[in-house]
Symmetry: C2
Subunit: 259 residues, 2 copies
DNA sequence: CACTATTTGTCCGTATGTATG
DNA sequence: TCATACATACGGACAAATAGT
């Protein structure tokens, strides 16, 4: 009788509650869009009717209609009088990943509450694979940084980065005081998107030394790509590789059930 | 002259753009609240004036005022005529962590697009440390699950979980077909909050065997606590420990710069 | 003491967007 | 589609508290 209840969790059903002033039609639209984009409602399948949506989510039919109209405007669904609304978006599974949305500001906040030792800070021609990603020429020098972060005197993270597109020179002292992101921002480097990948790896001799652990010990590895937009084109401007000591640093996240 | 531009990134300044219909005052309020909660604006410090906010974010003074009034209503700031608005919230740094906000629905989506082999599925009295977290008695049996996930025939994740509060019995076959979360949801188990911690660890003999790797090899480790609310009290109802093969599974996330 | 600049509080009128029946 | 109610956002104007000259 009501297949919608199966599609959406109780939490999702509660997502339209009035705890944020975001318009109802937009919350419902976002919810449905998510279900279409992640393949929960398959291509060609019939969407719930306006009446069904209105009842399950406790909104007026006009509001449900508005949400569906927005989907139709993006050509995610097709609406036909008498036939109903059908999905016209083909879901294609991505490689095994657990995508998350985070906030860069919180990373900065973390950076502000730990100590840094700058091992290396110089302009350098990066190795080929980095050069390719940054899109710089064979002789172009970019900023190479190597740092170790400490908490209560103990090293917990080893940071290695290559940054292109800096206008003014920066010194070791700058990075000892303020977060890297804040410095780049002041230089006018506008980051438009960031991608992170977390994995695990074994400690090399160099890493074991820097993080005060044994060779071969498991480390949490993080690679961050930061992009800026140049003439409408997205371009990598910062490459960051971090190795964390798993006993002294862990990635903790809260997952929300709705939205 | 204008210290606000230093506080907020260019992306943050753009966060109030009209791409979502969420009220302007609420977006500004969220932005400022975040800066207070993560210690960017310290306790006792003076907030930007309504006039300054209005200019930097391109809104009217009324809108800026509304945002600040909301903060005052939550007692995060104190407002005094002629004096200005001052922060009254004391930031206390948490242990080294990179907090993130994610969506549980996306996890489910991932689960739906890989193959599962259920190694163990039975009611069992959990070991002491799990029993303590779940808050169950010394003889209470809860659901113990052990699974391996495959992608293209290769094992990438080893899942071990303990779940309390199930009403109806579940069988192996159930977990081979649909995601665990969907099954629990159908049973009426309402999860209210989820916490995840990611770390790295070395493979034991058992794990190496299940994931087709060598003993001592680095693995990505994930611990997930799922809570439900019982009579206003938050209570752990599911404990999940996952080990991922780092070559076959990586945690990828996109970070937004605004919000 | 007055005078001034700053900052928040309050009020108006108006336009637009949202949500309902 | 229409009429209605309410929230949001704007600019402008003035009052009231605070701090410094």
């Amino acid at each position: 009788m009501n297949a919608i209840a199966d599609l959406f969790s109780d939490a999702a059903l509660r997502a339209l509650e009035r705890d944020t002033p975001t318009p109802l039609y937009f919350k419902l639209y976002s919810l449905l869009k998510g279900a279409i984009l992640d393949g929960t409602i398959e291509n060609g399948a019939q969407m719930p009717t306006e009446q069904q949506l209105a009842e399950t989510f406790g909104v007026s039919r006009i509001t449900a209609k508005r949400a569906m109209d927005e989907l139709a405007a993006e050509e995610l669904v097709e609406r036909r009088r008498g036939k109903g609304t059908h999905v016209t978006y083909e879901y294609s599974p991505r490689p095994v990943q657990a995508p998350l949305v985070g906030m860069l500001q919180e990373i900065e906040s973390m950076a502000r509450h730990s100590d840094v030792k700058v091992l290396k800070c110089r302009m350098q021609v990066p190795p080929a694979h980095i050069r390719e990603e940054l899109g710089t020429g064979g002789n172009d020098k970019v900023l190479q940084l190597e740092r170790v972060r400490y908490r209560e005197g103990q090293p917990f993270g080893y940071y290695m980065s290559w940054t292109a597109g800096l206008k003014k020179p920066v010194g070791k002292r700058d990075f000892q005081k303020s977060p890297r992101l804040a410095i780049f921002r002041k230089q006018g480097l506008k980051i438009s998107r960031v991608t992170q990948t977390i994995s695990a790896t074994a400690a090399t001799a160099q890493l074991a030394d820097a993080l005060d652990t044994k060779v071969g010990a498991p480390l949490l590895s993080l690679v961050r790509h930061s992009f800026r937009t140049v003439r409408g084109q997205e371009q990598l401007t910062d490459f960051l590789q971090v190795y964390y000591h798993p006993d002294r640093f862990q990635y903790q996240m809260d997952l929300t059930l709705d939205e």
